[in-house]
């Protein structure tokens, strides 16, 4: 098992090397490299940030500053599905707080947290530009609009169902 993980990791770092080599000659490519790194690793743990810092010769304090500044970066492992609840003005007045509350209650976690089974992460977004559909959430790349709290259990259930092989409480392989 351990061997397998390290082999997987090795592949990921090889991928990251390709990204770094592609962009490192240009100035100001740190954010792009971190974005790609997050795509490869799922999140940006200390090891990956340190690796990028070493390879680019940018102080780790700077790398960590950038990672913690942008909400699109995550230092913690993310669920398979990231739920973004829009808190832009339009969604807010249309009751997005109730939507968020319902999701939190359904999944037994708070905003910013990830379920134990690593299936869902809840985040809040500022305006995602779909005000006509307010209130809106996104789950990974899919958009759900004109929601009421009653819609939430159904939507979540459809994701749980597609992952039914992994029972709740057991870790999902990402």
């Amino acid at each position: 098992m351990e061997l397998e993980i390290s082999r997987q990791d090795k592949e990921k770092y090889e991928k990251l090397d390709l990204v770094i080599n592609k962009y490192k000659q240009q100035e100001g490519m740190l954010i792009r490299i971190l974005q790609k790194a997050q795509q490869i690793f799922g999140h940006l743990p200390i090891e990956v940030q340190s690796y990028v810092s070493d390879k680019l010769d940018i102080p780790i304090s700077t790398v960590n500053g950038v990672v913690s500044f942008y909400s699109l970066f995550s230092e913690e492992p993310q669920g398979k599905y990231t739920i973004n609840v829009c808190m832009g003005t339009a969604c807010y007045v249309k009751g997005s707080q109730e939507i968020l509350k319902t999701i939190e209650e359904e999944l037994h976690i708070r905003e910013g947290e990830t379920t134990l089974d690593k299936l869902f992460t809840i985040k809040v977004a500022r305006c995602i530009g779909a005000c006509g559909l307010a209130p809106v959430i996104t789950i990974n790349d899919k958009v759900y609009g004109r929601l009421s709290p009653l819609d939430i259990p159904g939507i979540l259930h459809s994701y749980i169902k597609t992952n039914k092989k992994s029972a709740i409480g057991e870790e999902v392989k990402v």
Binding site: I46, Q49, P59, I60, S61, T62, V63, N64, G65, S68, F69, Y70, E75
Partner: protein
């Protein structure tokens, strides 16, 4: 020039000046939080806003350049309103605990509240609730008081170049922290406190040993007593106690200090300081009066002189003491005792530099100035762990890399911190530097990269160099040094390719039985590429102690009078006989290495401020010598390991209790100012020596050290123009022959001190001791950031001891593995001279056949092991290479 008006006053300033700088020229106050003249303006805090006529909005004075006809108002209603609003917002998330805050009285935020009559915030909202980070032994971090001016982060990354802290998160959650929310102690922080020095609020404050308020303190500017950089600092004095030290924004350190200078001052007021003279009776020290001690010393000196002759007496002067004291000490021995047996610990550090560079260039001092590191485009560091041993110069080297893109070559047996910044890092075998230099020279000659014009016009014996290099190959060099041919070639091309290549070296070059040759091969390389006599270049030996340069300059050496005037030259002898009014000895004196050699048979030894029982090689042998003396006088501030062997111990005072001068590594003579009165019955060294002179019937009457400096200036050509008045603001760099002379920034400008630069044909020689089957490892020794020399001073600082508590040995993982040694395990290290127990530190910065130990510690002392094989030219011992074995206990 640009002409503008500030508050109605007209001022003419150069273009590119900012409003803030222009206002400061008129002494008009504009408040700032985030501004630091050493940094690029970043306009973070906005408190410096001013009104500029016709401008659309208020402008930040720190970042707005002036223009012709500009009309600026610094305290208009609009400006004051804006500043009040900024402070109002800052206070909405800032505790109002000024009554107990350590920063009170020295806090910019508090001052501006007073200035603008603000008593609190009108905004009520969320407040930060950070835990105070007290993990660092020297300072604490209270982020609740942080106003996010970013100055600490920028000083850490752009000036100190340590990158320990950064700004994370955004919005209200933004805060300063080491990466990944670790505490300071777990970060790369080197405890220099340079962030603390610039913090405008109580967010970063030094930990206090006692309570005080800034209002009751007296500030005294002086020179740091630790390494040779000679940083200027301010002693903050309460009553008769130094309670805090701050960096001074002066040459050469420009507001930077290291942990030792900044926080290592506890020794000054330490209860263990010597308070009275001690006389050993029946093996036990008893307190005595000065009169008794002087009487005894005078009797013994006269008795020994009569019985065995003057040359049976010897003195060890001190690189820790002032120029004036060293001058008097050598005068005591030369003029009063009648011998040239006077030396000091420069013998152990840069004797080979003094001998080697005097031979090839004509002067053994650092050729260029510290600040010139920032002008270099190539920096070559070898035999120096600069960021630990000369931290402020280390920071300047890193600034040169970061700010100016200078290239860095590092050649060291260990992967030191600077190696991570290097373009080429050559992990050479200890003692192989000559082979490396010759390898570099070979590449440069083969590829025609040398400075032909310079070589032709300013040097001699180039052919001899070519001859010796002709028989040598880069492959041989690579093999001897244990590095790759490619890396040597790369380093050679980088060094030769630079316009201003500066070499920095220290004990890794000098402390070898071929030390003088090591030094001369460095000078060969620099001469070959025309890197001497040029601003921003040079051969820069980094002197280890605060005044080792000065102690040499004023003649605390056995072969030269003050100013390097040879004692065996009758003209010099006559000059000094006339000045001192006595007949002087014709014999060149003994070196420290000889004096501490039992076989030489010194009967009476007088040691001022040195501790050879830790600092000298082969301590067991030193101990035998000391035990065999008829009489030993030790003059120091603590009862050191060496003082234990004394017959009489004289209590001297620290740098904070006396006036005088130190000469730093860049030849800058700087003032040491008395901040507090001497403790108990201790006396300044110069007073003690003067009084002994008088006891011995030689009339000496100096009211103040500046009178001694006047005498030095008369007799020492390099110091001719130096007096206390001239150096009161900023030190002067010798040569400074007369009082009109501005001092010399860099040496050998038009011609070398000796005329032409001399190439010396030098071939590599093996160290005196090489590994064999019984002793398979090479031990190299050195210094570390948190301790200084024999710990007489740093050992009294709890925080420094917490950081670096005990002796250890660095071993590579492979070597440790082969012997089943674990990290942290106590192990035995043995050489042909002795063995010690020390702690194993398994690290990947040393090669498998090399081990490293710091030499500072008395317990597990590295110098029990080291070899006293001497360099034949200058008698420096081979402290940097000996063969050892390690084993489990």
């Amino acid at each position: 020039m640009v002409s503008l008006k500030i508050n109605g006053q007209i001022v003419n300033v150069p273009e590119e000046t900012t409003i803030l700088e222009a206002a400061r020229m008129l002494e008009i106050e504009i408040p700032t939080f985030c501004h630091d003249p050493r940094l690029k303006p970043h306009g973070t805090c906005r408190i410096c806003v001013v009104e500029v006529e016709k401008a659309r909005s208020l402008q930040t004075a720190c970042s707005t350049p002036v223009f012709e006809g500009m009309n600026v108002w610094t305290e208009s209603d609009l400006v004051v309103e804006a500043r009040k609003e900024i402070i109002n917002l800052l206070l909405s998330n800032h505790p109002l605990d000024c009554l107990t805050c350590d920063k009170s009285g020295n806090c910019t935020l508090q001052y501006l509240c007073q200035k603008y009559n603000i008593t609190g915030s009108t905004y009520v909202g969320e407040r930060s609730t950070y835990e105070i980070d007290v993990s660092n032994p020297f300072y604490s971090v209270d982020l609740n008081k942080c106003i996010l001016c970013r100055k600490c982060v920028l000083v850490c990354s752009e000036l100190q170049c340590t990158d320990a802290i950064g700004l994370v998160e955004r919005g209200f959650a933004s805060h300063v922290t080491p990466p990944f929310e670790k505490n300071i102690e777990e970060s790369t922080c080197v405890s220099c406190g340079n962030c603390v020095a610039v913090c405008p609020t109580g967010a970063l404050v030094p930990k206090r040993k006692e309570k005080f308020s800034y209002g009751e303190l007296k500030t005294v500017q002086t020179t740091c007593p630790y390494c040779g950089v000679g940083c200027q600092m301010e002693l903050m004095v309460k009553g008769n106690k130094v309670v805090e030290i701050k960096p001074a924004f002066k040459v050469p350190n420009d507001g930077l200090l290291c942990v030792k200078g900044r926080f290592g001052y506890n020794f000054i007021n330490h209860p263990d300081r010597l308070k009275n003279p001690l006389i050993k009776k029946n093996g036990v020290f008893e307190e005595a009066t000065w009169d008794e001690a002087y009487q005894l010393i005078a009797e013994k000196i006269i008795e020994t002189k009569e019985k065995f002759g003057s040359d049976a007496l010897a003195g060890l002067s001190s690189a820790r003491c002032t120029n004036e004291e060293n001058y008097l000490m050598q005068k005591l021995f030369r003029a009063v005792v009648g011998t040239n047996n006077i030396d000091h610990c420069a013998r152990l550090c840069h004797a080979s530099t003094v001998a080697g560079l005097a031979n090839t260039l004509g002067s053994g001092a650092m050729t260029n100035s510290i600040a010139e590191a920032l002008l270099a485009d190539v920096i070559f560091v070898t035999g120096s762990n600069t960021t630990e041993t000369h931290p402020v110069i280390g920071a300047k080297i890193r600034q040169a890399i970061r700010k100016n893109g200078a290239k860095l070559i590092v050649a060291e047996p260990r992967r030191i911190d600077l190696a991570n910044d290097a373009d080429v890092f050559l992990q050479i075998k200890p003692g192989s530097n000559v082979a490396l230099m010759n390898g570099l020279i070979k590449v440069i000659l083969d590829e025609g990269l040398y400075d032909e014009e310079f070589v032709n016009s300013r040097t001699e014996d180039f052919n001899k160099l070519k001859e010796v290099i002709a028989d040598f190959s880069v492959e041989q060099a690579a093999q001897i040094c244990d590095v790759s041919v490619e890396d040597i070639k790369k380093a050679a091309r980088i060094y030769a390719g630079g316009k201003r290549g500066a070499i920095y070296y220290a004990m890794g070059i000098t402390q070898h039985s071929s030390g003088t040759e090591h030094v001369m091969s460095i000078s060969n390389l620099a001469l070959l590429c025309g890197n001497i006599g040029k601003e921003g270049a040079g051969v820069n030996p980094l002197r280890g102690q605060n005044n080792v340069q000065g102690a040499c300059d004023v003649g605390a050496l056995p072969n030269v009078y003050p100013g390097y005037q040879r004692v065996n030259d009758p003209v010099n002898q006559e000059k000094f006989e006339k000045a001192w009014g006595v007949k002087l000895s014709d014999n060149v004196g003994l070196t420290l290495s000889d004096i501490l050699d039992q076989a030489v048979g010194i009967k009476l030894l007088y040691i001022m401020g040195e501790n050879p029982m830790i600092s000298d090689p082969d301590i067991n042998h030193v101990q035998k010598t000391l035990e065999n003396l008829d009489f030993l006088v030790v003059q120091d501030i603590f009862l050191t390991e060496t003082a234990q062997f004394a017959d009489v111990v004289l209590p001297a005072v620290s740098f904070a209790e006396k006036d005088g001068t130190f000469t730093n590594t860049e030849r800058r003579v700087q003032l040491v100012r008395k901040a507090i009165e001497p403790k108990d019955n201790a006396k300044p060294d110069w007073v003690i020596i003067m009084e002994i002179m008088n006891r011995l019937g030689y009339l000496a009457n100096y009211q103040h050290p500046q009178e001694i400096m006047e005498e030095i200036a008369q007799l020492t050509p390099q110091y001719g123009g130096i007096n206390y008045y001239r150096i009161s603001e900023e030190g002067l760099q010798w040569p400074c022959p007369n009082t009109e002379h501005p001092g010399t920034k860099y040496l050998h400008q038009k011609h070398f001190t000796r005329g032409k630069g001399l190439f010396m044909p030098i071939s590599y020689r093996e160290p005196a001791e090489t590994p064999n089957a019984e002793y398979p490892l090479i031990l190299t020794t050195g210094r570390i950031l948190y301790q200084y020399h024999t710990r007489t001073m740093t050992g009294k600082e709890e925080g420094l001891n917490q950081k670096a508590p005990e002796s250890y040995i660095e071993i590579s993982p492979k070597t440790a593995d082969a012997l089943s040694i674990n990290d942290g395990e106590m192990i035995r290290v043995a050489s042909r001279r002795g063995n010690i127990i020390t702690k194993a530190k398994v690290v990947d910065i040393v090669n498998d056949n090399v081990v490293f130990m710091p030499f500072h510690y008395a317990e597990g002392a590295a110098n029990i092991l080291t070899n006293k094989a001497l360099d034949e030219h200058c008698k420096i011992p081979e402290l940097k290479v000996c063969a050892v074995k390690i084993e489990k206990v």
